[in-house]
Amino acid sequence: MSKKCYRFFGGALAAQEKWLNRMAAQGFRLVRTEKLLYEFEACEPGQYEYRVEFVGQKSRKDGEDYRQFLEDLGYRTFYKNINLNYSVGKVRWRPWAEPGGRIATNATTYNRELLIVEKEADGKPFELHTTYEDQIACAGALRGPWLCIAAMFVFFGVVFPHVIFWVLAALSALPALYYQTRIWRLRREAKTKEW
């Protein structure tokens, strides 16, 4: 008996994570993902916990290496797309990615931007990143794409003067600012909190 849900969260990682955890709390365990599809199986309510991580900055090899590492630790993982794009020969340039991951194609990292990580609940908190340095790097990886999109719209706004580009630039700068604020907060905490 499986339950299928169709959802699209895009870049709203926290919302996706919250939804998956709510499903798990109701007794639904994720077994398969596709572009829009999430397929669940019945489980004990609260048996599993989920985290959603952005891995789009990694190269195919690094991403796969990381996924394998998590699987070896006993977690289950699912790749998930952050965009909704059905083209077959997609090639995209990602200036914000790490070296090795800058050209994303369907065969490499395109449509594998997110990693859904499942852990069997054991009463301990489930955090993938537990040092400030690491949390700052994660926020930085999420900030990159938004900054890039904002810069692209600013460029369009200059070349083709139309207010719509400036509106889009401002809209895509908002998430970048959100992550930047998180980076500032973490940096301050790293400096002032001794434990």
């Binding site: 590492f69 990580v117 040092t131 340095e133 690491d134 790293a190």
Partner: protein, 107 residues
């Protein structure tokens, strides 16, 4: 995170990982080792452990161990890593000595 540009203190995470790898271990065993040794005080996220292991591999303080094919990857501390760990032990001893002198004996 280094707390001094020159001073050479290891982070607690780095030091514990080095210590755990005096005998070869895979990732999960490293996590368990740290949790047990610190009685759950220090819990390491999987992503953080992954990053830390890769950083140590890059520095040459640890190295892959044994046949990785088809099995979980294992790591082991290298001579360079041992040297760093030993230096850290000396630093901590000196620190503990200063602290005991000033604070006094705490049982």
């Amino acid at each position: 995170m280094r707390d001094n540009v020159k001073g050479g203190a290891l982070t607690e995470v780095t030091f514990y990982i080095l210590l755990s790898l005096y005998t070869p271990k895979h990732g999960y065993a490293v996590m368990q080792f740290i949790e047990e040794e610190t009685h759950g005080r220090l819990e390491l996220g999987a992503g953080t452990l992954y990053g830390a292991l890769n950083a140590l591999l890059e520095k040459g303080w640890i190295a892959p161990w044994g046949e990785a094919e088809g099995r979980k990857k294992e790591y082991r501390v290298t001579p360079l890593g041992r040297e760093r760990a030993e230096r850290e032990l000396q630093r901590l001893r000196a620190l503990a000595e200063t602290a005991s002198r000033i604070i006094g004996g705490v049982t």
